[in-house]
């Protein structure tokens, strides 16, 4: 992005009907927002408030999600009235749900990451009580990741057929599970079978870049083993 964010002091409220004027561009992250977030949610955040580019980021657990989101939506100091996006993420170890919010009071996007959802039973509260538009987004996250949003009135598959079993966007997704193919045939490196911890193996994670389909895939135990070009941090 060539252009950074802008200060939003002169940005009108969403509920103000006049068109907003042209703001000047000052490419800095919103320090005030980070301070306010730290003061308000200091106890509930899993990590400190971080900011990069034009996005401020907080990480909460599924327990605090409802209180944090309703506070962000309702409080006069935040007024994050627009849910820009709701995305599920599979880090390879745990599942996350990522919310992006927009407020007329801040030049930054706010990214709320609901982290630490276990693979076998990922449950978190739904935000449809704040934005009923999140219903389909949560349906999609359920369809692709198997995330269970408690409180969503209509949590069923939206893209995949109703008799579909697996969750395609998980990193442990194995194509032979859903296609009628014999295991191993035509499987790209990203789609290696996921073994649970009982079998003594942890999920696969890509640690070294590669070209095309020969991208390196190994397990955390053998990071760098036999890979001279292995580098970069583990996972996202």
């Amino acid at each position: 992005m060539g252009s950074g964010p802008t200060v939003g002091s002169d940005r009108p409220s969403l509920l103000a009907s006049d068109a907003s004027p042209v703001p000047e561009r000052i490419p800095v992250t919103d320090i005030a927002l980070q301070r306010r977030l730290t003061e308000r949610f200091s106890t509930q955040l899993l990590t400190a408030v971080s900011a990069r580019h034009d996005t401020t980021e907080i990480i909460v657990g599924p327990g605090e999600l409802v209180s944090v989101m309703s506070a962000l939506h309702d409080d006069a100091e935040f007024r994050f009235e627009l849910l820009a996006d709701l995305a599920g993420v599979d880090t390879g170890v745990v599942l996350q749900v990522v919310y992006h919010l927009w407020s007329p009071l801040s030049p930054d996007w706010l990214r709320v990451i609901c982290d630490g959802l276990p693979r076998d039973d990922p449950r978190l509260p739904s935000v449809t009580f704040l934005w009923n538009g999140a219903e389909w987004a949560e349906r999609e996250a359920y369809d692709m990741f198997g995330l269970i949003f408690e409180g969503n009135r209509d949590l069923r598959r939206i893209y995949m057929p109703p008799d579909y079993q697996s969750f395609p966007l998980r990193k442990d997704f194995l194509m032979p599970d859903d296609a009628s193919r014999s295991p191993g045939q035509g499987v790209r490196p990203i789609e290696v079978a996921f073994q649970t911890a009982e079998s003594g193996r942890v999920p696969l994670m890509r640690v070294s870049p590669g070209t095309g389909s020969l991208a390196g895939w190994t397990r955390p135990g053998e990071v760098g083993a036999g890979d001279p070009d292995s580098g970069g941090q583990v996972g996202p």
Binding site: A16, S17, R52, V89, L130, P162, R206, P209
Partner: protein, 406 residues
């Protein structure tokens, strides 16, 4: 709905010769999965299901809407998606960042210059890459041209779904000129794979500029003319005014963006609300309407066409010199991190959330399509109206199934 659950699959012969009840009714042949589904697929007396789509003249794309009607009045409806699902996010994870561009291209196939910008902007943000100013200006030029062509088609579609058969051809005439123009610039007419990480693929050429100048001399004239057919037409106004009114609060709660949101009076346009590219240097207004009905959305599209023509005029006057591509390694390894970008497409706020683990492939690439959230509003707007209004409301919300089904 009664009976043991049967699983639909290709090798299930009973799908072919089925009881007429299953063929005629839209009731799925498996037990309901949620309370919502259960209460939707249960009929009171006098009600019946009508299955609009997936093959239907006026569902844009392969959309299936099961409407529960009482006489001519729609009681409730349930959009069924997934007929166009290709798993673009998964494909993007398997290819590298450059591949993601052309994989995202056919998402919003009416204005694919926008959907192909998602991986580009995300990768540039992760790379902290400064795009050459000329490339930025060319992007804005292409975006606005594409916006006009998309809006021209929208107006024709709305008229077509209301039964008027002429405006869509005027819209196509306008769109053809722009599309030929963009073909001279990008090499393709529908899925221009033009934007690149760090710039654009190829500088402005003479043919494009001559076509553009020729078009700018009468830009949008045919749209204005064809709007004569509609704007004052009693039948058209009677069909659209006060139809499918979306209030501000409902629009915000439904996460609706773009023209449907601005038609409710909320001036939320990412080009102004969260400026990107060179939009802060350009002078244009965010047209808004306060009614929030289909007629307001229609007029809003006309206003946005005029604003886009203003933007193109300024861009052509301020176009700087210089390179159109930044220096980048051939094998692009994006540094680890997360990035979220949003930009304004003809249908609202397009968003993309990318996670990179330092390799040449995105670890996770989330695509946020505005039509996906706009289409949800149909569920609130249509009930209580007539069957004919279902089409009018859906056309006025202007969904594109390519982006919705991903």
């Amino acid at each position: 709905m009664t009976g043991e659950p049967r699983v639909r699959s290709l090798d299930d012969p009973s799908i072919m010769v089925d009881s007429p009840a299953t063929i005629i009714d839209a009731v799925p042949p498996y037990p309901p999965r949620t309370e919502r589904e259960a209460e939707f697929y249960s009929l009171k007396d006098g009600e019946m299901f009508v299955n609009l789509g997936p093959q239907h003249p006026s569902t844009h794309g392969v959309l299936r809407v099961v409407i529960k009607i009482d006489g001519e009045q729609v009681v409730d409806l349930d959009p069924v998606l997934g007929y166009l699902h290709r798993g673009v996010e998964k494909i993007c994870e398997n290819g590298d960042w450059h591949h993601a561009i052309s994989n995202c291209d056919p998402l919003e196939y009416i204005a694919s210059m926008f959907s192909e910008a998602m991986p580009v902007l995300v990768a540039e943000k992760l790379l902290d890459l400064e795009v050459p100013r000329r490339a930025d200006y060319i992007r804005v030029l292409a975006w606005e041209l594409n916006r006009i062509s998309s809006h021209a088609l929208f107006i024709g579609w709305l008229a077509l779904d209301l039964g008027g058969i002429t405006p869509i051809l005027y819209g196509f005439i306008e769109r053809d000129e722009i599309v030929e123009m963009l073909a001279a610039l990008t090499g393709q007419k529908l899925l221009f794979n033009y934007l690149r990480i760090g710039g654009v693929n190829g500088d402005l050429n003479h043919e494009f500029l001559s076509r553009l100048g020729d078009w700018m001399s009468r830009a949008g004239k045919r749209i204005e003319e064809s709007s004569k057919l509609m704007n004052e037409n009693e039948i058209f106004v009677g069909r659209t005014r006060g139809l499918g009114v979306l209030t501000r609060e409902a629009a915000l709660r439904t996460c609706v963006t773009g023209p449907p949101l601005r038609a409710t009076g909320i001036p939320y346009d990412v080009r102004r609300a969260h400026p990107y590219s060179v939009y802060p240097e350009l002078e244009f207004d965010i047209p808004t309407r306060t009614e929030g009905d289909s007629y307001a959305r229609y007029l809003l599209h006309l206003d946005e066409i005029r604003e886009s023509i203003r933007i193109i005029d300024q861009v052509l006057h301020q176009m700087p010199d210089g390179p159109v591509m930044a220096k980048l390694p051939r094998l692009l390894r994006v540094p680890p991190g997360r990035a979220w970008v949003a930009f304004e497409s003809p249908r609202g706020q397009y968003g993309a959330y990318g996670i990179s683990d330092g390799s040449d492939q995105p670890f996770r690439f989330r695509i946020h399509d505005p039509s996906y959230f706009t289409l949800q509003a149909v569920g609130q707007l249509v009930p209580g109206h007539l069957v004919a209004d279902t089409m009018a409301i859906m056309a006025s919300l202007d969904p594109i199934m390519g982006g919705i089904d991903k």
